[in-house]
């Protein structure tokens, strides 16, 4: 096992472990912090794939901005274990079933997927570098890219409209 593999297993364990902690920890603030750790682990995977741009954007956007907003809301509402409402039993069952279904679907797809012919290129692939990524996004996929940005714009307008109402 060389260093890259070691890092891969470490990051995977970190990602899965902290993702589990997100779901299981009682304190919501801890959940958010574990989620941030998860993002870090995923960014680490991106770096292993030499996709530095994706790694850093993942950090800036998710860990740096969205999670801050999550923390904001949670800290302001001051939610903790004492004030957390007891959920109903059937709700837990429903959640378990829904999650299980998702897992089933994912496993089924991944099982049939042809992943053998793709091998991850660690630290030598260059598709994740900003130059190639920019070329791909703005040449080949320019229409979907612009459409998705219009989607974001409409979401922003919607947020402003909702905020303005009262």
């Amino acid at each position: 096992m060389n260093a890259t593999q070691g890092l891969f297993w470490f990051l995977s364990a970190l990602a899965i472990g902290s993702a589990l902690m997100v779901v299981t920890s009682k304190n919501l603030v801890y959940s958010v912090l574990y989620l941030i750790v998860t993002f870090f682990a995923i960014s680490g995977h991106y770096i292993l794939l030499n996709a530095q741009f994706l790694a850093i954007v993942n950090l800036i956007v998710y860990a740096g901005a969205i999670m801050v907003l999550f923390l904001f809301v949670i800290m302001l509402m001051n939610l903790n274990t004492e004030t957390e409402a007891q959920r109903k039993r059937w709700l837990k069952f429903a959640g378990a079933i829904a999650g299980g279904c998702l897992l089933l679907v994912m496993v089924a797809t991944l099982k049939r997927a042809d992943y053998k012919s793709y091998t991850a290129q660690t630290s030598q692939g260059d598709i994740g570098l900003i130059n190639n990524l920019g070329m791909a996004l703005f040449k080949e996929y320019v229409v979907p890219f612009e459409i998705s940005s219009i989607l974001f714009l409409s979401a922003m307008v919607g947020a402003v409209v909702i905020g303005k109402r009262d």
Partner: protein, 351 residues
């Protein structure tokens, strides 16, 4: 030999480690003397003399301050969240120091027959790395403020965090225009371009971008006039109210390190980095050129640090709504306009 470190030999690792140690300790010493400079500048602007008892001109004052902070009693509030309470200042300091990794402190030097880059890591994503780390800096404030279990701290933390994420946007947008000009994210490439003969510093091409970046840098560093998160007279020192001893020291120190690093980044991006004007570095021997370059960069950094302090002792604090108005209604549209105009001009020139 593992594939990750395949291209790196032992000597490079040692050179990098030495460089890291030097850069980190230099930033810490500079941050230490920034506290001294801050007190002196404040005093001079207010027609006073400032600290002058410890050593000649009070030059040993930062050591005394540091010693005092170390000796103070360590207090962890009983109702606070202990782990997060300690994690807060650690994160603040960590993120402050991490940014120094990608700043080119000078050109190459030759030591023991080897050429050594005066930059810890010339990563492909360059300036984006700074943004990533800066956006992590919010957590130091938020976690510390929340873990203190104090309403003032929480309010200040939320103020500070929302301020930082608001101004990060304008900062990024103002930089996009610059990056369109340079076509590279790497700080070394950006400096190299500014050093080319016939090419001026980026401030000439991007004055508005620099202005926006400067204002945002003030806001990101929590400096006056944007120091709402540690407003002494409104929030009792803000998010680090419950902190004492060196944990408080780390928060204060991180602020000064941030100031140093953001000065370095501004100097690198807009003022030619280690480029000494009117001197042809290529004609000098590498080591002399590197020394000249480091001196030039340091002079620029010191000017910016002085600017930070000068502004702090001139302008009163913004009100919170003024702050948000300036960020969202002032700087972001301005930065967008700057970006559009720059793009248009670049297209027009290329035609």
């Amino acid at each position: 030999m593992n594939p990750l470190l395949l291209a790196i030999d032992t000597e490079t690792v040692i050179a990098k480690l030495v460089l890291i140690v030097i850069v980190i300790s230099a930033s810490l010493v500079i941050a230490m003397y920034e506290t001294y400079a801050e007190r002196k500048v404040a005093a001079f602007i207010q027609d006073r003399i400032g600290p002058n008892r410890a050593g000649p001109f009070g030059i040993l004052q930062p050591l005394a301050d540091g010693l005092k902070l170390f000796m103070k009693e360590e207090i962890i509030p009983a109702t606070s969240n202990k782990f997060l309470f300690i994690l807060g200042p650690c994160l603040a300091m960590l993120t402050a120091m991490m940014t120094s990794a990608i700043i080119p402190w000078g050109n190459k030097i030759e030591v023991f027959g080897r050429t050594v880059d005066l930059q810890i890591a010339d990563v492909n994503i360059g300036i984006l790395y700074v943004f990533g780390v800066v956006s992590m800096g919010v957590y130091g404030i938020m976690i510390g403020g929340w873990a203190s279990n104090n309403k003032f701290s929480l309010l200040a933390a939320i103020r500070g965090a929302s301020q930082i994420i608001s101004y990060e946007l304008a900062m990024g947008l103002s930089l996009i225009a610059l990056l369109m000009l340079t076509g590279s994210l790497s700080l070394r490439t950006i400096v190299m371009q500014q050093m080319e003969p016939g090419h001026f510093w980026n401030i000439v091409y991007q004055p508005l971008g620099f202005l926006i970046f400067l204002v945002c840098a003030f806001a990101e560093c929590n400096r006056t006039p944007f120091d709402l998160s540690e407003a002494e007279n409104e929030l009792n020192f803000g998010y680090h109210q419950e902190y004492s001893s060196m944990k408080l020291g780390f928060y204060l120190f991180a602020e000064y390190v941030n100031m140093f690093i953001s000065s370095a980044i501004m100097a690198t991006l807009f003022f030619g980095g280690y480029d000494m004007p009117f001197v042809n570095e290529a004609a000098l021997s590498p080591n002399v050129a590197a020394a000249v370059g480091i001196a030039a960069l340091m002079a620029k950094i010191i000017f910016f640090i002085f600017l930070f302090m000068w502004v702090r002792w001139t302008i009163p604090r913004f009100r919170y709504d003024q702050l948000m108005n300036l960020g969202w209604r002032g700087l972001i549209p301005l930065a967008l306009a700057n970006m559009l105009i720059t793009g248009a001009v670049i297209l027009w020139l290329h035609k």
